[in-house]
């Protein structure tokens, strides 16, 4: 199940159509501050939007892996259902998405 979620996250990023691709590119450059050469191979979103058990399990899976290079981790949790440990501080590849700007790219 968890593997499926990761695959979907990666798949969603790699399959955005042309205009969305441009939006994603602009987002990564303007909001995350990356150059094109620094673009991640995968974007992993940790959220509390799904079933609480699934969100917790997914966060537990991601927590020890947030130092993975070439991955961008977008954190959209406030601790209501998921333990914030490991997601409290922004780093180069762990970023908060509290205003849901990444999700809005798809709308």
């Amino acid at each position: 199940m968890m593997r499926k979620v990761i695959i979907w996250s990666v798949f969603a990023v790699s399959c955005v159509p042309g205009s969305q691709d441009a939006r994603l590119s602009r987002y990564l450059q303007e909001q995350i501050g990356l150059t094109e050469r620094q673009f991640p191979k995968a974007i992993v979103v940790v959220s509390e939007d799904g079933c609480p058990h699934c969100d917790r399990a997914f966060a537990d899976l991601v927590r020890p892996r947030t130092s993975l290079r070439d991955c961008l981790f977008l954190i959209r949790i406030d601790g209501t259902t998921v333990d914030l440990h490991g997601f409290m501080v922004e780093t180069q590849n762990v970023r908060f998405d509290d205003d849901r700007s990444f999700k809005k790219l798809a709308s």
Partner: protein
């Protein structure tokens, strides 16, 4: 160098200053930010794990706020927001599967309800699990009806003697399956039509020899019983001034229930601006089955509080917003009406509060007055102190 006059200013800046001067006055809202109450927590204030307990012996309110995910503690404050003590939650989290809601029912005792389960635990001030028990024996109070109790929507109301939680009807006691002779659509229609007549609240009296559950508030939404409509089982409940009140997004009134019998004592219509403060759910059709009638953008009562010194009630009503309002701006960030009712529940004032400034569902009725939670967006609103501002009443 002489004084700077407007002739010295660049033209663009001059225009900006003129525009700023022409801007209308800031809206006057009856909330005083200088009289605040601050809870020092670095976790989100969430209704199922936060609330008030009135300590009759010391004649004061205790405010509590719990964090079940990161810090695993529940912090207890006095009415002024001074931290009193922390109750560790690790033991109870190791004991129960997951937590639906919790509430202080004595200064040194915490009631903790398991998720989707009749099990509960009693935890002492040191965080020790004193008892794990089940309400399973009491959740089918009569042949035909099975209920689940929950405090998730707006927390568990406690007066020290009883706990009040919402009751969700789950169908027949002895037959919970889906009748294969009817379609899913017919099943949902039937569920909502029958469910509209069922009980909405449960009163739990804790007893080591078997806690008792009394269901009440039955068939209290008659306007939903003509044809199958989305009848949403949960009702929010709040104890104020020794009285028990229920409200719902689909009820244009607040109901006062007798705390003993759980029968309706008063039906208090709530209007805001020019309309009823609720959504009248449409009949269930194949077309609107997925969106539930689009409840989320409709007006609804979000909170209710009582000011002991003035005797006024405060009702917070969320305004309707367009159906296509972006996610994140369509729920608690909406403008809302702060309505003041007197002791006879007659409206004496209504003020419009702009959206995003406050959380109208987080009203605290303390002995010092009624406070509303200041909204701090983003991460700072989670890890920073939680500030409540006092509502100014006539």
């Amino acid at each position: 160098m002489g004084p700077i006059t407007e002739n010295h200013l660049p033209r663009g800046l001059k225009l900006l200053l003129i525009l700023a001067a022409c801007r209308g006055p800031e809206p006057q809202i009856p909330i005083d930010p200088t009289r605040s109450l601050t809870l020092q927590t670095d976790w989100k204030f969430t209704s199922p794990f936060s609330g008030l307990f009135y300590d009759y012996y010391r004649n004061e309110n205790l405010i509590f706020s719990g964090d079940l995910r990161t810090n695993l503690i529940l912090r207890v404050f006095n009415h002024a927001g001074d931290s009193q003590y922390d109750i560790p939650l690790k033991a109870v989290l190791d004991t129960l599967e997951d937590i639906n809601s919790c509430a202080l029912f004595a200064p040194d005792s915490l009631f903790v309800m398991e998720v989707h389960s009749p099990r509960y635990a009693i935890v002492d001030k040191q965080g020790r699990v004193c008892r794990v028990s089940s309400l399973a024996h009491a959740l089918c109070p009569e042949p035909g009806n099975r209920y689940e109790v929950s405090g998730y929507s707006n927390g568990i109301a406690s007066n020290g003697r009883s706990l009040f939680m919402s009751a969700a009807w789950w169908g027949d006691c002895d037959n919970t399956g889906w009748d294969p002779s009817i379609s899913r659509f017919q099943y949902i229609q039937r569920y909502h039509l029958e469910g509209a007549r069922k009980c909405r609240i449960a009163k739990i009296k804790l007893d080591p020899d078997g806690s008792k559950v009394h269901f009440g508030g039955c068939n209290i939404l008659p306007h939903l019983t003509d044809v199958p409509r989305f009848s949403y089982s949960g009702m929010e409940r709040v104890l104020l001034n020794g009285k028990l009140f229920l409200f719902s997004p689909v009820a244009p009134y607040i109901l006062q229930l007798d705390t003993g019998t759980l029968n309706v004592v008063h039906r208090i219509p709530i209007d805001f601006l020019n309309g009823p403060a609720a959504f009248f759910p449409p009949p269930i059709t194949e077309e609107n089955l997925q969106n539930g009638g689009d409840l989320v953008s409709k007006p609804s009562i979000a909170g209710l509080a009582y000011d002991t010194s003035s005797g006024y009630y405060v009702v917070a009503v969320l305004h309707e917003v367009p159906i296509d309002t972006p996610e994140g701006e369509n729920h608690l960030d909406r403008p809302w009406s702060l309505i003041v009712l007197d002791q006879t529940f007659t409206k004496v004032a209504e003020h419009i509060i702009p959206g995003k400034l406050y959380r109208p569902n987080h009203l605290l009725s303390t002995t010092a007055g009624v406070y509303v939670h200041r909204n701090i967006p983003g991460r700072a609103g989670v890890v920073g102190p939680k500030t409540f501002h006092r509502i100014i009443l006539p």
